[in-house]
């Protein structure tokens, strides 16, 4: 019995050791190293110190939305001669993201490109980073009451309006439409409100006849659209602020076969395939690459704020002279004609990089 118990303890210790080594190996940060800089350009203020490291910090780090953002952040970092690191928490948990943010701060980075999961939870940590001289630029989601230097995002209101205009134009500016929502996520709510507002104010012969919460779940979206279509047999279009629900809604639209136009924000390979096959009306995609590139540029400028001396009270008031309250990174309307340009794997193949793994 004792031997059995000892064996079990030994096996558990072995497992723990293996797990520790594995985790240590996984946790090793792969920093994108700067490209070689010509010797005569080292005097330029636009050439950083290779030891400078800039972090991108996100929540649900496995989500594909971040990858093109980081790809261009990395490129800007390489061009500026500094290091970049992609990190974050794999979970949808603000406490976990706060812990990752603290770990980054402990490493004294040159700057942080942050997607704060919750605006208020990040006020104190961002302010502390500012006091430590570490600039923070927020992207895609903001912490407006903090001392973040800048905020870069796509204009969610414009995205909702673009979608409304595209569907309305195809429906001859008359008919019934519906929305599938993800209530509680700020940027998604903005897109939905903008879509509804546009339909109500610009298209008097159109009506938003139904709203359902599908919370990014394709199965819920499928059921919701099937149900809405029973109550509103003349439904001409449906809009949702994210791509996951789009997959379920499009499947329902295909089965209903009544010509319902399905349109969403953001994209993935499945949505692109369906757009190309004519089963999905279209998608609105924020220019993620621009978000990452300009985000990195703003971080670099904020970390090197001695480069600029604007005519204002920055030195007395104590704010970073490089700060810009808001930058719009623009958007793209994805249709069957241009869908081929939006596949992540093809994009990576074309660029010959390892994406977030460098």
């Amino acid at each position: 019995m004792k031997t059995k118990f000892k064996n079990m303890i030994a096996v558990l210790i072995m497992l723990a050791l293996v797990a520790t080594f594995a985790l240590t190996g996984c946790a090793k940060e792969e920093a994108a190293t700067p490209v070689a800089v010509a010797a005569d350009s080292t005097d330029s203020p636009f050439v950083g110190d290779p030891s400078e490291t800039y972090y991108m910090c996100v929540m649900v780090s496995g989500v594909e939305y971040w990858f093109p953002v980081y790809e261009m952040m990395k490129q800007a970092g390489q061009q500026l001669g500094v290091k970049t690191v992609y990190t974050g928490t794999p979970e949808y948990d603000v406490n976990k993201q706060l812990a990752v943010f603290e770990q980054i701060l402990a490493k004294k980075p040159a700057g942080i490109l942050l997607h704060p999961m919750n605006p208020d939870a990040f006020i104190e940590p961002i302010n502390r980073a500012a006091e430590m001289g570490i600039p923070v630029v927020t992207f895609a989601a903001d912490s407006p009451n903090s001392k973040r230097v800048s905020y870069i995002t796509s204009d969610n209101v414009r995205e909702g309006e673009f979608a409304a205009d595209a569907i309305a134009a195809d429906m001859g500016e008359k008919g019934e439409v519906a929305v599938l929502e993800n209530p509680g996520q700020d940027n998604h709510d903005l897109r939905i409100k903008a879509f509804i507002n546009r339909i109500e104010t610009k298209y008097p012969d159109m009506e938003v006849v139904a709203r359902a919460a599908t919370n990014q779940d394709p199965n819920k979206a499928y059921q919701a659209l099937m149900t809405i279509a029973q109550a509103h047999p003349n439904l001409g279009g449906v809009f949702m602020p994210e791509a996951s629900s789009g997959m379920g809604a499009a499947q329902a639209a295909v089965e209903l076969d009544t010509g319902i136009r399905v349109m969403c924000c953001d994209i993935n390979a499945k949505v692109l395939d369906m757009i190309k096959a004519g089963e999905f009306f279209g998608a609105i995609n924020p220019n993620q690459g621009t978000q990452g590139y300009y985000g990195m540029l703003m971080l670099y400028l904020a970390a090197h704020s001695e480069m600029i001396d604007p005519m204002n009270d920055w030195s007395q008031a104590g704010f970073n002279p490089m700060g810009m309250p808001f930058v719009d990174n623009g958007l793209a309307v994805v249709t069957a004609e241009n869908a081929d340009f939006f596949y992540w794997d093809k994009y990576l193949e074309k660029r010959g990089t390892k994406g977030i793994n460098e």
Binding site: L12, V63, E64, Q216, Y222
Partner: protein, 330 residues
């Protein structure tokens, strides 16, 4: 005449009482009440198209609910069902994109899910971990594996052959094939859980593990078997979703464990083990789906939907629980 009426009335009351004493009777009455009310409130509720949508929405999840019910009867819990379901989807999808036949890819995915169940069972029975912690860990492992396999981006399986798409999208007569698979699994598992010696052992083990051991039941085997069953059914649901949506999404099935547990508990399963039926759990899943459909048909504001749904469920569970207590006391 008066006598006849009295007899008829008593007969109806007797029948009603008998029905109420049936374990799932109260839940069926609640569902019928909701349906009758909805048929007055919306002319679209009692249409075949709406019921098809309701059935389709909970039939695949219902397969996971079956596994969860057996696990709860055993006195365990499986928090990894959503992640394991997604893993089957991702493994099957990835292998297909690598050129493997989709049927073989699905079988491999199912075998891996069964293997996960086996390992979970071993950890519970041999190492002595509890189901909650073991499956919590596997929830993270399986979800993490999904992200590793897909590299975070949904895999588009647009080129799946029609024969494979039939699982999720095909129909036999008026019935979608998914619903037929679901009904077969429910009928077989409900019958076996009530009548077969093998699955009755799950009840004995869940009610009183020590007594089950003394009566000669190999409880360890039962626990491993139930873990394998639960994970395999989750994997099967993943394969069906893969076929239905033609995609493998690494974030799919998040929160499914709570839906499955809710459905089972609404249907009368006990979190402490030894109680529950597959039929009851499926009624629980059906009630959840009917309420969702009703709220959409009634154009209830999206901000109110969760609150109203929560209140109705609380009411349903409370009524069912009170009835159950009365039956036991009587």
């Amino acid at each position: 005449m008066i006598e006849n009426i009295k007899t008829g009335k008593n007969g109806f009351i007797d029948l009603f009482n008998k029905f109420r004493n049936f374990r799932e009777g109260t839940l069926i009455l609640i569902i019928v009440a909701v349906c009758v009310l909805m048929s007055f409130l919306s002319p679209y509720f009692m249409t075949w198209a709406n019921w098809k949508a309701i059935f389709l929405s909970f039939s695949t999840e219902g397969i996971v609910v079956v596994g969860m019910t057996v696990m709860l009867v055993l006195g365990g819990i499986d928090l990894s069902v959503g992640a394991v379901m997604c893993l089957a989807m991702c493994i099957g999808g990835k292998l297909f994109l690598l050129g493997v036949n989709p049927w073989l890819a699905s079988l491999i995915a199912l075998a891996i899910c069964a293997g996960i169940g086996y390992i979970q069972g071993l950890l519970v029975t041999k190492v002595g971990l509890v189901h909650f912690i073991t499956t919590l860990a596997f929830m993270g492992i399986a979800r993490g594996a999904c992200f590793v396999i897909t590299q975070g981006t949904p895999l588009s399986l647009f080129t799946l052959p029609q024969s494979f798409k039939f699982i999720g999208q095909g129909t036999i007569g008026p019935l979608p094939f998914v619903i037929i698979i679901f009904l077969v699994i429910v009928i077989v598992s409900d019958y076996m859980l009530r009548n077969s010696t093998v699955l009755r052992k799950v009840f004995y083990s869940g009610s009183n593990e020590k007594a089950a051991v003394f009566s000669g039941i190999r409880v360890s085997r039962v626990k491993i078997g139930v873990s394998v069953l639960c994970c395999t059914l989750s994997g099967l649901a993943g394969i069906i979703y893969m076929s239905r949506f033609g995609a493998s999404t690494p974030g799919f099935g998040v929160g499914l464990e709570m839906t499955a547990i809710s459905a089972a508990v609404i249907g009368g399963a006990s979190l402490t083990g030894g109680e529950g039926t597959v039929f009851g759990s499926i009624l629980g899943a059906a009630l959840l789906s009917i309420i969702t459909s009703s709220l959409i048909l009634l154009d209830v504001s999206v901000y109110w939907q969760d609150l109203i749904k929560g209140c109705i469920l609380l009411f349903a569970v409370s009524v069912d629980h009170i009835q159950h207590m009365r039956r036991q006391a009587g």
